[in-house]
Amino acid sequence: MKEKLRQYKAWLYLLPAILFLGVFMVYPLVDVIVYSFEEGFNFVTRTSQGTGFFNYSYVLHDPYFVQALKNTFLIVIITVPVSTGFALLLSLALSSIKPLRNLYQTVYFLPYVTNTLAVGLVFMVLFKKTAYTDGMVNLLLNAFGAPSVDFIDGPYWAKMLVMCIYTVWVVLPFKVLILTSALASVNPDYYKAARVDGTRPSRIFFKITLPMISPMVFYLIITGFIGAFKAYSDEVALFGTDLNAAGMNTMVGYVYDMLYGASGGYPSYASAAALLLFLIVLTITCINLMVSRRSVHY
């Protein structure tokens, strides 16, 4: 009897967590798969006209989705290597100095705690060309003799460029933080041993440092891929809520637009798009894991 009471009490402690997770995570997970196969689901009457792959086929043929897919892949392919490589450079530089190190670290981490919507607005102001002014960045470009470009409402490549710059700016703090602590945790004896042997700095980096921190680098690449595939609010911050009109929508943005807003009201299409996104991320993550398992030796 007492034993039963104890069991019952343990479940009581878990009850709130199970309740919330069940309603807002487990049930939705099943539901979203159901939605994605229900043809022509009506939001008001909650009825559908049948089941099948219609939603998937619709989404895949939607030019907005194709555009979103292209944008997302571009963002992923550009920002993940650039931000990881640049973060590595910054962390290496940070680990080689002593005075002011804390100050630099604090400054570099600042973007992590700021509201990306708010700072995105500042970026927009800096890059935007208006009737009054060409903007701060164009002023800089002009100083080097380049013509002004409207980065916010102008050509596609310019918009993509700002997008990538802002994304890198936003994701760097996390990467720099992880890499500096990874570098700090390398046993200094390895460097001493290498120094006594007269090892060149480049050889120390590629033969000792990089292999030592490779688990963390792969961790960053994997989370970086996942994060970049889910890009959305940074885009809204720069180009506004109507991303389709700006031609800068992302896959997550497409999902939300299908769900809500001027073009919304289609949870079935949203579900199909979300599952497609999930499949892509899953595949890429698996590939990443396989590569990292082959390259990380301890």
Binding site: R6, A10, Y13, L14, P16, A17, F20, L21, F24, M25, Y27, L29, D31, Y35, F43, A93, S96, L100, Y104, T106, V107, Y108, F109, L110, Y112, V113, T114, N115, L117, A118, L121, V122, F123, V125, L126, Y132, T133, G135, M136, V171, F174, L177, I178, S181, T223, K230, Y232, S233, V236, A237, G240, T241, Y256, L259, Y260, P267, A270, A274, F278, V281
Partner: protein
């Protein structure tokens, strides 16, 4: 012994120090230059928003070439930000949302983590594995149904609708369970022998000992809440319930007659300050917490 003759001869030693020292100084200078350039790139947007927020709209618009300083600073943008758009309202909403969500989440995750860390019951391992596997589910996938659910419950444009889906975090339960498990089991046994109830033990022993981790989790959750955008955007369309992120987007698209950049910047400064202050106060806690496994939410 082949190396000894090749590597140093009698006079070489003095040259070594000079050359090595010079090279080291140049290297250090370049490092600092590189670091400073990026620090400037990080800080510049902050500088620009503060600077612009003190310019009058007229002077901002008349600056064909933006100026890096402000000759006649004005605070009128700040009063404009609080009067022309319901910024105070957004601010208050976010405060309520952040405090209630964080508070409720702490209760839920402490109870769950305690059950996993210290209580014995059938199926514990199975349930915990199930919990862990939930960590892999992206929020984008479940948000669709949650949107439908909250709409069906008629909770759109309400605080419960905003708060309910963000009350649990599998990751924080996991993090807290690990912390709880580091507390020696002997303490628990001793308390049992003394006849302390589980709940009293949790309240009097576990929570005080795990306080540093609890504070870290709370701060990370506060940051996440303060910056959340997607869910509030889906679930609110009345400005009375907007949070700061949605508010700033609303301001950008409809507020201040769209072109009053200095007023927008004032609003941006106002909503950025709380987190920056929080960061500067809890710098070490936040950075340590994030490196233990936080990812940008």
């Amino acid at each position: 012994m082949a190396t000894e003759n090749a590597t140093f001869s009698g006079t070489a030693s003095t040259d070594f120090t000079g050359a090595v020292k010079r090279r080291r100084i140049i290297r250090q200078a370049l490092l600092y230059l590189f670091l400073t350039v990026w620090a400037a790139a990080v800080l510049f947007p902050f500088y620009w928003m503060v600077l612009t927020s003190f310019k009058t709209q007229a002077s901002y618009n008349s600056e064909q070439r933006p100026k890096f300083y402000v000759s006649a600073p004005t605070t009128e943008n700040y009063s404009e930000a609080f009067t022309a758009v319901p910024l105070a309202r957004y601010f208050g909403n976010t405060l309520v949302y952040t405090i209630v969500t964080t508070g409720l989440m702490m209760v839920v995750i402490i109870l769950a983590a305690f059950a996993f860390a210290r209580l014995e019951f059938k199926g514990k391992t199975f349930v915990f594995t199930l919990f862990l596997s939930l960590m892999m589910i992206p929020s984008e996938l479940v948000i669709i149904t949650n949107y439908v659910t909250i709409t069906e419950w008629n909770l759109r444009n309400s605080f419960p609708g905003l708060i309910l889906p963000s009350i649990t975090s599998v990751f924080y339960i996991y993090l807290l369970k690990e912390t709880f498990e580091q507390i020696p089991n002997e303490l628990y046994k001793a308390a049992k022998v003394d006849g302390t109830s589980d709940f009293k033990y949790l309240r009097r022993v576990m929570i005080p000992i795990a306080r540093p981790t609890l504070v870290t989790i709370a701060i990370l959750k506060v940051i996440e809440c303060w910056n959340s955008y997607v869910w509030p955007r889906l679930i609110t369309d009345k400005p009375e319930y907007f949070l700061v992120s949605n508010g700033i987007q609303e301001i950008r698209e409809h507020g201040f007659g769209r072109d009053n950049i200095p007023a927008m910047m004032a609003a941006v400064v106002v909503i950025s300050i709380p987190l920056i202050v929080l960061f500067l106060v809890f710098r070490n806690k936040i950075m340590e917490g994030v490196s233990r496994g936080g990812t940008k939410a």
